[in-house]
C-alpha cells in the first residue's frame, strides 16, 4: 500500500528548503526536480528547483497557465510523459512546443499529498526519454508525501514574511509578477485578472519570461498604458 510506503520514507529534520528536491534525485533516475505548492484557488509557490532546466519547466507552467502540474493539482494523479518529443500534447500545446527547445526527454508530475488532499506537485525531468516503472512511481509518490509537511511549512513561513528573498532556483511566489499585476491594473484601469492576462500575453508574444517583463514593469522601464492591443495579442 502506498500509505505504508509513505510513512517509511522519512525526511531528516531540520532540513533546508533544497532538501525537498534532493530525495527524488537520489532515489530515481531523473536529471532534476522542482517542488511547488499549489492551492485550490490556483495560487502557487515554487519552493526549490535542483537546476536551471527544472526551474524553467516549472516557470513555463506558471507563465503559460497550462501543463501537467495543473492537472495533477486537480486530479491528485501522477502524470508520466516518457517521451516529450513524441507526442502532440493536446492538453498543453504551447508548453509542449516550449519544452521542445529544452534538453528534456521525459517529465513526471507527482502529486504532493497530505491524506487525500493534494497540496503541491513535484516535477521531475530526465534529459532523455524515460518511463518510470510501477516501483519507481510508488517511490516518487512516497517521497512526495513524505515531504508534504515540510513543503507546506516552508511555503507558509515564506508567504507571511514581508521581506522574503527570492532566488533564481527558488523563485518562491514570484512577488514581482504580482506587483506588476497591481501596476498594470492601474495603467490599464482594469481588474487584477485581466492585468495578469495582459502581462502573460505580452511575455509570450515577445518571447520573454514573465519574470523579466514583470521586473521591467516594476522598474518603470515598461509601461502598458500606450501599448497597442495588436502587440499584446498576436
Amino acid at each position: 500500500m502506498t500509505d505504508s510506503a509513505n510513512s517509511e520514507a522519512r525526511v531528516p529534520e531540520p532540513y533546508d528548503v533544497h532538501d525537498l528536491c534532493r530525495p527524488f534525485l537520489s532515489s530515481l533516475p531523473v536529471s532534476g526536480a522542482s517542488v511547488t505548492v499549489v492551492t485550490a484557488s490556483g495560487a502557487r509557490m515554487t519552493l526549490c528547483s535542483s537546476d536551471a532546466i527544472a526551474a524553467r519547466i516549472d516557470e513555463l507552467q506558471f507563465e503559460l497557465g497550462e501543463g501537467p502540474q495543473s492537472s495533477v493539482a486537480l486530479s491528485g494523479q501522477i502524470v508520466i510523459v516518457p517521451d516529450v518529443a513524441s507526442r502532440g500534447h493536446d492538453d498543453w500545446p504551447v508548453l509542449g512546443a516550449a519544452l521542445g527547445e529544452l534538453p528534456v526527454g521525459a517529465i513526471f508530475c507527482v502529486p504532493i499529498q497530505m491524506g487525500a488532499v493534494t497540496v503541491g506537485v513535484a516535477t521531475l525531468y530526465c534529459d532523455k526519454p524515460l518511463a518510470l516503472n510501477n516501483h519507481q512511481q510508488t517511490t516518487a509518490l512516497a517521497i512526495a508525501s513524505a515531504i508534504a509537511g515540510g513543503a507546506v511549512q516552508h511555503a507558509m513561513v515564506s508567504a507571511i514574511d514581508d521581506a522574503a528573498v527570492e532566488s533564481p532556483t527558488a523563485p518562491a511566489l514570484r512577488r514581482e509578477v504580482h506587483q506588476a499585476t497591481g501596476i498594470l491594473l492601474v495603467q490599464l484601469n482594469t481588474t487584477a485578472t485581466i492585468a495578469y492576462a495582459r502581462l502573460q500575453a505580452y511575455a509570450f508574444a515577445n518571447g520573454r519570461t514573465l519574470q523579466s517583463v514583470a521586473h521591467d514593469v516594476v522598474a518603470g522601464s515598461l509601461t502598458f498604458d500606450d501599448t497597442p492591443r495588436d502587440n499584446t495579442f498576436p
Partner: protein, 245 residues
C-alpha cells in the same frame, strides 16, 4: 451447522463489501462504528456490543453501543478504570473472558455489574493500525464460552478495516485544515503584492513605501492587512486620503 456457516460467510462477505463501499465515500464516523458493532454482534452471535475510542488525551470514551445494557456495562468499566476492554486497549491485543463468573476476579466491579445485566462472557478486540491503538470493540454474550479463534479473527478483520477508515478520516480532516491555511497564506501574500503595485503607481512611490503606507493604514484602523490590500486592488479605498505623519 452447515447452514449456519454459510449464512455467516454470506453475512461476513456482505459486511466487507459494505465497509469497502463506505470507506470510498464521505462517511460519518459514528454511523460507521454503530454499523460495525451491530454487524459484529450479529455475525458472532453475541447479544450486545460497544465501541470505545481514545480521545486526544488518550482517555477511552464510549462512542457506540447496541443496547442500553451494553452502554451501562461499558460505562461501569470506564468508571472503575478496570475491565477486559481497558486491558485490551492498553495491550493492543484481544481479551476473551469465556466465563465472567469463574474468571472475572481480575476486574471485580466490572464483572459484578456485567453479570447483573445478564452478560456471562465478553470479548474485546483492539482497534489498531500499524502500532497505533485508537480504541476497542467489545462484544457481550448471555452465554458462557470463549470465542473460537476463527471468530476472533473475523472480529479483528472487520475492526481493522473500520480502523483504516477511521484513521484516514482523521488524517483527512487535519490535511484539509492545513490546505486551507496554506491557501489563505498564499492568497494574502498575492493580494498584498498586487496592492503594493497599485499603490506604487497611484502614489508614484517605491514598493517599500507603498507597503509601509498600506500597513500604517491597516494598523491605524485596526484592519487586517489582507482586507486593506483587497480594498486597494478593488479601488474601494484611497489610502492617500490619510495625512502621513
Amino acid at each position: 451447522m452447515m447452514m449456519t456457516t454459510e449464512t455467516r460467510e454470506t453475512k461476513l462477505s456482505a459486511a466487507f463489501v459494505k465497509l469497502a463501499d463506505t470507506l470510498v465515500t464521505d462517511f460519518d464516523v459514528v454511523d460507521l462504528l454503530h454499523w460495525l458493532v451491530e454487524k459484529c454482534t450479529e455475525i458472532l452471535d453475541t447479544q450486545a456490543g460497544g465501541i470505545m475510542l481514545a480521545d486526544p488525551t488518550g482517555q477511552l470514551q464510549l462512542v457506540a453501543s447496541t443496547s442500553e445494557e451494553a452502554e451501562l456495562v461499558e460505562i461501569f468499566q470506564l468508571a472503575a478504570g478496570a475491565g477486559p476492554c481497558l486491558d485490551c486497549f492498553r495491550t493492543g491485543t484481544p481479551v476473551t473472558v469465556g466465563d465472567l463468573e469463574a474468571d472475572g476476579g481480575r476486574w471485580p466491579t466490572f464483572s459484578t455489574e456485567a453479570l447483573k445485566l445478564g452478560f456471562r462472557s465478553v470479548h474485546a478486540t483492539p482497534l489498531r493500525l500499524r502500532g497505533q491503538f485508537v480504541g476497542t470493540m467489545n462484544l457481550f454474550s448471555h452465554h458462557t464460552g470463549a470465542l473460537i479463534a476463527e471468530d476472533i479473527a473475523v472480529a479483528q478483520a472487520l475492526a481493522d478495516v473500520a480502523t483504516i477508515g477511521l484513521l484516514q478520516e482523521r488524517h483527512l480532516r487535519n490535511a484539509n485544515l492545513v490546505a486551507e491555511q496554506l491557501q489563505r497564506a498564499l492568497d494574502s501574500r498575492i493580494l498584498i503584492e498586487q496592492a503594493k503595485g497599485v499603490l506604487a503607481t497611484t502614489m508614484s512611490t517605491t514598493m517599500n513605501d507603498a507597503f509601509t503606507t498600506m500597513r500604517t493604514y491597516a494598523r491605524d484602523r485596526n484592519l487586517p492587512l489582507r482586507q486593506v490590500a483587497d480594498d486597494i486592488i478593488g479601488r474601494r479605498i484611497d489610502v492617500r486620503k490619510r495625512t502621513t505623519s
